[in-house]
Every structure is written in C-alpha cells, then in structure tokens.
Symmetry: C2
C-alpha cells in the first residue's frame, strides 16, 4: 500500500509538466484543465487513475500474467506506471492486483522508485477490479490516504505507451461530457456470425471503431454506474463507457487516439514492446572525453563518424570534469548510451570516472545503460595482442557494474596513420557501437571488441 | 512473370506435404481434399492463391510499402510466399503488385528462389488487385501459363505466418460451402459512434468476430461476384466474403484461426515479425565436431552445457566427415546455427570445412546462418594474447562469408583443469553463443569473444 521510497532517488523520464513541452494547442488545453477548477473557492481539478491489473494473461500463452512479463528485465506494468507518473497532474494512481501478487507489486514499486501508487486487491473480473479501485478512491473509505478525485482515468496495465497528450484529451472531454474514451480505426473488418458458423453480415468498417484505453469519467458518474450495475455486468461486461451510458445516461465523448495505445495481448506484442523500448532508449549517444586533453583529435573524429553513420541517433559529447556539469545535464535528459574515449590504450581512468557518475545518477534504475570503453591503438607500434592483454581487466569490471544494470564493453580501434584506413576503422567502430546499443544484450558484457 | 530459377537450388523450409506432418485428423482432411477431386474422370482438386500486394502501407509510417520492408534483410512478402510455397497442393500463386514494383518483385522471386509465382499488375484498390489476380487465373486469358483452379485462396502479402493447417481448413470449407474465411476473437470492444462523435452503442464482443485471412472460394463464385459487383464495391469495399454473399448469395463458412494470422500493419508489427522469425530460427543449434578426433571431450562437455543452459533450444551434434551424411541431414531440417569445435586453438580446419558445406547447401539463401568457431585454450600454458593473435585471421574470413549471408564469430573458451572453473567457462560460453544466435546482428561478425 506504500508508495516507493523517495530518498535520494530521481526516477528517469520525470519530465517538465504540460505547457513547457506541449505545443500551443496543448498548452491551451492545459490551461483549460486548470481553469476547470479555478473558479473562486474551488481546488484545481483533481485527477486520479485506476489500473486494473488482475488479469491472468491467458492469451499470452506464458505462465506469468502479461502485466508482469519482463521487458529488459523490468515488468511491463512498471513501464505503464512510469507513463502515468510522469504526468504531474495525475494525483493518485490505484493499481488493482490479485492477492497473490500484492507483495510482488509492492516490490516493483520500491525497486523502480514509483511514486503516487496505491495497491488494492483485484476482483475476479476486470469490472470488479476497477470497482475496487474506485472504492479505494471514494471518500467514505476509512484509513485511506486517497482523496476522491473529480475526474478518474481508467487505463490498462498493459498499454505502456500512453502519452500525456491523449490523457489530457480524455480528461478534458470527461469533465465536459461526463465520460470519454480513446478510439482507433478498425484493423480488420468485423463480422457477425450466424448460429451455424456462417457469415451473417459484415459491419461497415468506416462506421465502427475499436474502443481503446485510456478512458476518463467524472468520478461520480462512473462510481454511480458501478454501484448500480448488475452482477451480470460485473461478470461479463467489458466496456466502462457502456456502463456509464446504461446506468447514468452519460454519452461518452470519443477521442481519436494514436497507434501507441495498443494493448499488449499476445506474445508478439511483448516482442514489439521490447523493440520499441530498445529503439526509444537508443536515440541518443553521448561521447565522453576529458576536455583537459582536448589536443587529442581521435575522440572528435569518432564523434563525427558516429554522427554521419548512425542516422536518426542524436550524438552529443560531454566532458568528464565535474565542474562543467555537462554530463549531469545529459544524464538528466535521459541519455542511456555512452561512448567513453580513453586516450591511453591501457588507461581506464575516463571510463571509471564515467561509471561513477552514471552509478551516482540512478540513471540505470529504469533502463540498462550501455557504456562502451573505447581505446585507440597503433598496430605498428605495439602488437594487438599486447593491447588486448592490457585491457583484459575490463571483464571483471563489467561483471561488477552489471549488478547495477550497466552494460560495459571494451572497443579497441585501430588507429593507422593512413587517413582512409582510419576512416574505415572508425566506420567499423560505429557499426559495433550501434549493434551494442541496439541489442543491449547482457550476454556480451565484458567483451573486448576490435574495429 | 517467370518463376525463380530452379537449377541446383533447394529453398529451405520445403517440407514434406500434408499427411506426413499433420496429425490424424489433418491427414483425414487431406484425404478429403484429394477425394474431392477423385471422382472418375476428374482431376485432383486444383487450388491456386491470389495475393494482393499493391498497398502503399500508409499506416506503417515508413516510405517503403510494408510488404517490401526488410526483415533480416529479406522483404516481408518473401516470407509470405515461402509460407504458401511449402504447401505442395497450392499449384499457382498469383501476386498483384503495382507497375513500379513489378521489377523489384521479379528480383525477389529470383533472389530467394521462389517457385510457382506469377506476377500481375495491381489495381488502385485491394478489390481491384484481387480481381486482376483472378482474371489471370481465368481460363479465357490468352498466353497464360496459368490454369483456372476449382478453389482459390485469397491471402494477404503481409500475413507471413499462415500455416498449412488453416489453409487446408478454408479450402475444404470453400469446396463445401462456396466460400470460407478465417476469423479471430475481437481484441477490443467495437463501438458505433453517433454523428456528434459520442458513443451511440457498443457491440457485444462475444457476438462478433474479426475477419482475417486466408479466405477461400470456389473460383466460379468469387469470379462471378467480382464481375457482377459495382464500382463502389471495387473502390470502397474491404470484405471478399461480403461480395460472395451479396452477388452470389453464398454464405461463407467461418473458420477459427490461430493468433499467427495477424496482419503486419504498424511499425511495431514489423518488430514483432522480426522477433518471431529470429526466435523460430534460433530453436536448433548443431555442435559440429570431427568424429575422427573423438577422444577430445571438451566438445561434448560444451554440448552438454548448451543443452542444460539453453532451455527450449534443441542441441544436436553433427560430424564433419562427408561420408556420415549427418550434417547434410541436419541442414535439410533447417538448422541455422552452428557451433564448430576446433581442437587446436589456432586450427581453423573444422570451421572451414563446415563453412564450405553450409555454402554449398544454399541454407543461407532465406535466413542468415550463425557460425561460432570455438577454440579452447589453457591460460596457464600460453598467454591469452598469443591465442588471440593466432585467431585474428577470423576477421577477414568473416568479411568474406558475410557476403553469402553467413555470420561468423570466434569464441575462445578458457579450459582450466579445475572442474568448477571449467563449468563456469562453459556456462559463459553458452550465454555468449545464445546472445549471438538470438540477435543475429551482422555488426558483430568477425569478433573474437572470450568465455
């Protein structure tokens, strides 16, 4: 029942709220949202969210319920909580899990530093779980730290990619209409079978929509609907908007959602989610060099080649000296990939400094952080084998930082005097770095690769 | 318009037909299928397939039409053709692509050795493309090598995971009912919006289904329907079953399909398809040793550890001497992963032999083949750096075989006398091998990894 500890931790992807990151029309909506509660004597609009997460994931074909399936070793539900948490105007998030999973859920909240989360016991069906969440928010519950919100969002634990944008839209529409829900165009034609298993008729695709999540309701409307509705509804119903219509005569406003709203249903969806998450955290690479040794051009050459070879990836550079604050800034902007240039082949000081900073930052709590320790060598002056021998300590070091979700690899780059060959080595290095960042496979940590 | 060349090539995943691989009930269906055409004076049931592939993939958000998007460097449509081709009782496969893609389509057919494929020009809508495919199959077309089939399957180019099982079911049902189509339960509730963008009503999920592909028809039924139907149908319709109902009063039989039938629609579906394909070709590893040197136990030790560490992966071993035929058998069963044990650290003969056999087999035409060249070393007798130096030639060799879609890496395994440490090394080796096979990332070819 307790939210995660806060001491010293700053979960990643905490983003500035609303108007600073949304465009002009979204900023206008944001002010609508606060204006809605800004009449004299009223509090700002109070919004909470309920996440039913009591399902057993039978369609997934795996023994773990899908909301607890790991993606990059972190349970799916933690990504969904993260998506809701970063929306600062959602005050409370109530998660309904089965009794046997309450302890696991509390561990997840603690491990990943989730905030503003309350855990309640799920019912045997989706509607019963949502009802339990709503009850926990209703004011008449004794010993609850939760307050009854004006608007409640209902979302699925297995839709991790929900954006603030659509949450805002459904909340504003719910404030106005009493209920609102995200919809999407149908991917397949919907048909109605006859009793003998033949086609009776097909529905016109353009006149129908898939009802997705999130949905939002005036709390009093949906709570009333759940209190009124029949056992049959609670057992077999699937659609909250329908309950609001049937029991409160509230016609929900429908809001067009983006493809991101899709629900992790089958095993293939877990694969897709993992790929999307890997792609998202691979969009930035920071090339770290100690600026005190700025005379050395190889680091900058590598940075240039990374920029030209890896399209769509933002390559920045940061200095290691604490005073500049560069790196802290980059880390705070959620960069999960570092290429650390060590000037002397056998030297590891830069990488060690970087690893300390990354560890202190808690950056690796939510996602594995890739660190590639780069070392240049001139094949003519020292044999490659000697260089490799010098760098073998990286294996032990990688084992150590792996425990803190940091994936460390070494990369030796051949540094010939020949300009063309150097460019070839650097391009090869960029391909290897891209592979390490893209796959984020912990099986390769501690390896010393050669470009 | 030409099918791919056949000389010397044997596309992978060509499987024995029907009854030999299907269970008792499927075998029964198979005999039904042949019985349907076995009356005196009649040919066996003639089945063809039409694949509309003229879409532009606007929902994907990428410039390449989705059916041509690469998965492991091979276009998606090639996987779908492969799925249809391996069903030996489908006589002709007609693919409809836009004029500008006909050349690309012919190259794909040639490069991946596809058979029984004819290419026709797509229309501007899905229905027009299907109609063009049907016209090519109709007997009255001059200079066509195609014959009018009794039953025609219609499938999507972007549903690559269709199984013979469901194709057989829709064909048998179409023979009996005139039309048949695969259906799936709805993932989301379907709703009907009112004109003002609010919820009018939601459909009962249990009484509706998503219409998927494949579908099958008596050729005369669906061809008649397309000849009769209006321009409006051809422009805006989405459902072939509906055309058969409307214009030929044929009520399609609905067949429950598996989740595999899903359609690659969004970018996330491409990610999912790639992961599924990678997973499928990672289910078998063959550990290759030269049996002439059978005294050496390390290879067998590694095999044992691979078996115990990699669950769900079938580990077999094969001998390199041509006479035994072991390896040819394993290759013919579509094993795409090889761990080649070289007895002497610096020796590469086993791996070279293996690479020749793999190249000759054409195994790597459809999927990248992973070869891990394993070398053992005793750290006490020779320094690691010396061993690594000895093996550096692997880089050049890997570059060479990469051109033929073979991904070669080296793996040095520390072989200490201490039993416990040896087990640790072997476990580490298994983790590295699993990573290389799972990711199949060409950026890491030629690297020499250390366990």
């Amino acid at each position: 029942m307790e939210p995660g500890p806060l001491g010293g931790s700053r979960p990643a992807e905490r983003r500035p709220c609303l108007s600073s990151r949304l465009g002009a029309d979204r900023a206008a909506s944001a002010s609508l949202l606060s204006a809605a509660g800004a009449e004299p004597g009223r509090r700002p609009l109070a919004v909470a969210a309920v996440l039913p997460a009591g399902g057993c994931g039978e369609r997934m074909g795996v023994p773990t319920p899908k909301q607890f399936c790991p993606i990059l070793e972190r349970p799916l539900i933690s990504y969904t909580l993260q998506a809701l948490e970063r929306v600062c105007w959602i005050k409370d998030i109530v998660v309904a899990v089965t009794g046997e999973n309450i302890e696991a859920m509390n561990s997840i909240i603690q491990k990943y530093h989730h905030e503003r989360i309350s855990v309640v016991e799920a019912g045997v069906t989706r509607h019963r779980s949502i009802f339990n969440g709503l009850k926990a928010l209703a004011e008449d519950q004794p010993d609850s730290k939760l307050c009854k919100p004006e608007v409640v969002i209902i979302h699925d634990a297995v839709r991790p990619f929900v954006e603030e944008d659509v949450l805002l839209k459904v909340v504003i529409a719910a404030k106005e209409h009493g209920a609102a829900g995200a919809i999407r165009p149908l991917v397949s034609t919907v048909i109605s079978p006859s009793a003998d298993g033949c086609l009776d008729h097909s529905l016109e695709r353009a006149r129908h929509r898939a009802s997705e999540m999130p949905q939002a309701f005036l709390f009093d409307v949906i709570y009333e609907a759940y209190q009124q509705c029949s056992d049959y509804d609670l057992e077999f119903g699937t659609e909250c908007l329908q309950l609001a219509l049937k029991y409160c005569h509230t016609k929900a406003k429908l809001v067009e959602g983006s493809p991101d709203l899709w629900k992790v249903t089958y095993k293939r969806d877990l694969y897709a989610a993992e790929s999307i998450i890997k792609e998202r955290i691979s969009q930035k690479i920071c090339v770290v060099m100690d600026t005190k040794e700025g005379e050395e051009p190889v680091g900058h050459l590598l940075e240039e080649v990374l920029k030209s070879e890896l399209n769509h990836v933002k390559v920045t550079s940061g200095a290691l000296c604490h005073a500049s604050g560069d790196l802290e800034q980059i880390i705070s902007e959620q960069c999960y990939n570092f290429v650390c240039v060590n000037i002397m082949t056998s030297d590891f000081q830069e990488t060690q400094k970087l690893l300390s900073i990354v560890e202190e930052s808690n950056l690796s709590i939510l996602y594995p952080v890739v660190v590639v320790s780069v070392h240049f060598f001139d094949i003519k002056s020292v044999p490659l084998s000697q260089k490799m021998e010098d760098l073998m300590w990286i294996r032990e070091f990688a084992k150590e930082v792996r425990k803190r979700n940091i994936l460390l690899c070494g990369l030796l780059i051949c540094y010939p005097q020949d300009e063309q060959k150097l460019q070839e080595s650097l391009r090869q290095a960029a391909i290897i770095i891209a592979a390490l960042i893209k796959e984020r496979n912990s099986g390769l940590v501690g390896q010393l690769l050669v470009a």
